[in-house]
């Protein structure tokens, strides 16, 4: 079950909210844990067993490390084993190489634990924090298990530090207004997924079905724009839905994306894309490595290398690695060339160009396809053909609207407008807009009951 399904929205969500608010405050956290277990169980009992075992193993490791920290070698040994276990498990489940190993443990070939990538990052980060003595929060089992299994977080993050999660959990102040905020964020995410991402996906599929060897330039650019927008709307849509549901339970988790696609610098793109994951990489990989290397060139290489790891984390293939290297290199070059401010429009255009060009690597299944696609984007074939014009004619409105929606223009307008009438007017009609979008999304999910295209298995 995913957030964008009628069963979740009209069944699981209202029932779990009801139960949560009916029970006394003391019982709310166990109830949340139980509800999360049911959510995992509905994805599959095997999934529940997997996530439960994963949580228990990491819990055991964290407790052992805390008990023996600074006293004897035991802490280091458990730490090493725990981190290796987490790293190995993400490789085992995200690549096809380990199918025999998986089946040895009784997992069928098709089994994929959704959210394993986020769970593994959370687990590794927590073990490092505990080992370094930075996770002095309450290590009760309910807290720890919720950190892993809290259902609004399990599918698409955000990757939070254990300490901040526990702080959030303990400072919950659920009230009606928060539910309103939460449902607004939820509907925003739902609309991103159901209206924008699913439509753009059809455009991308139409382009991908063509032979890349004689693709026209215009087709290639339309395709890659559709892909990047679709990726953004899928990832941020699902993550918004999760965060919105979290708000309904009084958990104010931070947003994962902050309108990254049309930033004025690649550096800003990098800082606004999957914010917590990028921060995780900086905190647990880049900084410790920097501490050992003072040389400037060495540090640059590390910086690009960490971006390569981040890219690899997306796809677990060479292509993701190349995407990461490109983005990392682009940021490095940018910081060398332009230290000052650049004009907004130029900046937006060149950032978008870099994002689209490197996006060819995320979009393609293998490096050869991606290189051919890049050739099409520089115009090896014709400039435009009938197919491209057909796509422009059919999708131009969708593309323009979704591009606008992926910029921060509207939000900035609202902020700048201060306390004037426009803002008030928007505020007053916003409940109706939310409801209207919600009705539209419900109708668009009605045929199959859900909207499940994930684009990437994370």
């Amino acid at each position: 079950m995913i957030y964008s399904s009628l069963l979740f929205i009209y069944g699981f969500l209202p029932l779990s909210l009801l139960l949560y608010y009916v029970v006394p405050k003391k019982a709310q956290q166990p109830v949340l844990l139980a509800e999360s277990a049911v959510f995992c169980g509905l994805i599959g009992l095997r999934y529940l067993m997997f996530t439960a075992a994963y949580t228990v193993i990491n819990y055991g490791a964290a407790r052992l490390i805390r008990r023996y920290r600074g006293k004897n070698e035991m802490a280091s040994a458990v730490f090493a084993i725990g981190v290796s276990f987490d790293i190995i498990s993400i490789f085992v489940f995200r690549t096809a190489l380990f199918v025999p190993l998986r089946s040895a443990f009784g997992f069928p070939e098709a089994f994929f634990p959704i959210g394993i990538s986020f769970m593994a990052l959370s687990a590794i980060g927590t073990l490092i924090d505990v080992y370094g003595g930075k996770a002095e929060a309450d290590m009760g089992f309910v807290h720890f298990a919720l950190y892993f299994l809290f259902f609004p977080r399990i599918i698409m993050g955000p990757v939070l530090r254990y300490r901040s999660f526990v702080k959030m959990l303990d400072s919950r102040k659920p009230e009606l207004a928060e539910i309103g905020v939460g449902l607004t964020i939820f509907v925003k995410g739902l609309a991103k997924k159901v209206i924008a991402a699913d439509t753009l996906f059809v455009l991308w599929v139409a382009v991908r079905s063509r032979d890349v060897q004689d693709m026209s330039l215009l087709t290639a650019w339309l395709g890659i724009s559709a892909y990047m927008l679709c990726l953004y709307f899928t990832l941020s849509g699902i993550s918004d839905m999760g965060i919105g549901v979290g708000y309904c339970f009084g958990m104010k988790m931070p947003q994962s994306f902050n309108y990254p696609l049309f930033s004025t610098k690649i550096r800003y793109f990098a800082a606004r894309w999957h914010i917590q994951t990028v921060q995780w990489m900086r905190r647990y990989v880049t900084k410790p490595l920097y501490a050992h290397c003072a040389g400037r060139i060495m540090r640059r290489l590390i910086f690009i290398g960490v971006w390569a790891v981040f890219g690899f984390w997306y796809t677990f293939s060479l292509n993701g690695l190349l995407w990461g290297i490109l983005i990392g290199a682009a940021i490095t070059i940018e910081s060398r060339i332009s230290r000052g401010r650049i004009i907004d429009t130029t900046g937006v255009i060149y950032t978008a160009l870099v994002v689209m060009i490197s996006g060819a690597f995320l979009a393609g299944e293998d490096a050869v396809y991606s290189l051919r696609y890049l050739l099409a984007m520089i115009g090896r074939g014709s400039i435009a053909d009938r197919f491209a014009f057909y796509l422009v004619k059919t999708y131009i409105v969708v593309l323009l609207i979704s591009m606008y929606a992926s910029t921060d223009l509207f939000r900035n307008m609202m902020i700048r407008s201060g306390r004037n009438r426009i803002r008030t007017a928007f505020a007053v009609i916003s409940p109706l807009v939310v409801l209207l979008l919600f009705v539209v999304c419900t109708a668009m999910m009605m045929y199959s009951g859900s909207s499940g295209i994930m684009l990437m298995k994370l």
């Binding site: 009628l6 069963l7 209202p14 079905s209 197919f387 916003s430 539209v440 109708a443 045929y447």
Partner: protein, 376 residues
């Protein structure tokens, strides 16, 4: 102020969600949707394996959607919305200006293994075998589809299929006949199938190959039985912007008569049937007015006095085609292999027919398993 508005949003949304949740709990559950012309999914049964791999919840998602309150209204809204955004493909159906076309390319698989089954049939039995593969409306009106969907043309699929048939099997090129006439009302706007008129145009050629002179068009009196027919493409897309279709019955008043028409079910039960069954016009599946509700075997006896027997092996495309044949044979047996549960030889002796006609829509030929019962 902001807080108040957030509270309003919360109340509005929670009310909307709870109303539909309660409505769907207490709503009476139907088994069939007449709008979509299909059986709705049943409440999934609990089993260890379905819980283990999560298919229980997946079934529950589609059960929930199938029985969602006001589902048909939601679907109509869905189709209106999807016409506006994107490329106008709703659930695999393309909305062209005035007709719906099947845009689901996954159905256009190869029909090579069906050809092999027909070859086997022709080799094993003595009579002459004739084959007609009828294109769907997307084949005949392919130029109206978005260009990238028309890449795998049905004409090529049909000629591939014909090329795989043995030399002694006679094939009839329905595609080019229909393509030439595509200014006429030969295909339904809301269905993949041909109209009676489309079937008549192909009948003229088929019957000559079978060795008779066709009945000319002016001999028929045509009755418009309904102008409110919504076909399978409508069922899938729920797109009501395209006009409903007209269904015609063709009567040849001075011609030969149908003396008896009996349907035989798998159980052996025999029922009286009619070539045109008016009663079905009020049912959920209006198209079954042709030949009535489908049966595995239909035996037609006519007043033609030539002792000629024809076996037709067919799918639903033939339903409006069979009535034209009744002017030429004293006996026609119509076998729908899709509906058989056992070997066909239980019902018919294939060697007793001097002519066998296979008449199928190309969309139904990619699945060769329907022929398994013939060559058992």
């Amino acid at each position: 102020m902001t807080k108040l508005i957030n509270k309003i949003t919360a109340v509005l949304m929670l009310a909307f969600i709870s109303v539909f949740m309660l409505y769907s709990v207490f709503d009476s559950k139907k088994n069939r949707s007449s709008e979509e012309n299909r059986e709705l999914s049943k409440r999934p049964g609990l089993s260890a394996s379905s819980l283990l791999d999560g298919s229980y919840a997946e079934d529950l998602v589609s059960y929930n959607a199938d029985h969602f309150p006001l589902r048909s209204r939601w679907l109509r809204l869905n189709s209106k919305l999807r016409e506006e955004i994107g490329d106008g493909i709703i659930n695999g159906v393309y909305v062209a200006d005035d007709m719906l076309l099947d845009a689901d390319t996954s159905r256009r698989a190869s029909s090579g293994s069906s050809a092999a089954e027909i070859n086997r049939f022709a080799r094993d039995h003595s009579g002459a075998v004739y084959v007609v593969a009828v294109p769907t409306s997307s084949g005949v009106y392919g130029e109206r589809l978005p260009e990238y969907l028309d890449d795998y043309r049905e004409s090529r699929q049909i000629s591939d299929f014909y090329d795989r048939l043995n030399k002694d099997i006679k094939r009839i090129d329905a595609y080019n006949i229909l393509k030439m006439l595509n200014d006429n009302y030969i295909y339904y706007r809301s269905d993949t199938k041909w109209t009676s008129y489309g079937a008549y145009c192909v009948y003229r050629t088929v019957i000559q190959k079978l060795g008779f002179l066709p009945t000319t068009f002016d001999k028929y009196s045509i009755r418009h039985v309904t102008s409110d027919f919504r076909g399978n493409l409508y069922n899938r897309s729920q797109c009501s912007s395209v006009k409903p279709d007209i269904m015609d019955f063709y009567y040849y008043n001075d011609g030969e008569e149908v003396l008896s028409c009996t349907g035989i079910y798998n159980s052996g039960k025999i029922v009286a049937k009619r070539i045109y069954d008016d009663k079905q016009l009020d049912s959920d599946y209006v198209y079954s007015a042709y030949l009535g509700e489908s049966v595995p075997l239909l035996k037609i006896k006519t007043s033609v006095n030539n002792e000629r027997k024809l076996l037709v092996i067919k799918d639903s495309y033939a339903d409006c085609f069979i009535p034209f044949l009744t002017q030429h044979y004293s006996e026609i047996d119509v076998l729908t292999p899709e509906l058989l549960d056992g070997p066909a030889s239980k019902f018919v002796d294939f060697d007793s027919y001097e002519q066998t006609l296979f008449l199928f829509g190309i969309e139904n030929l990619s699945d060769s398993s329907i022929f398994a019962s013939l060559n058992h």
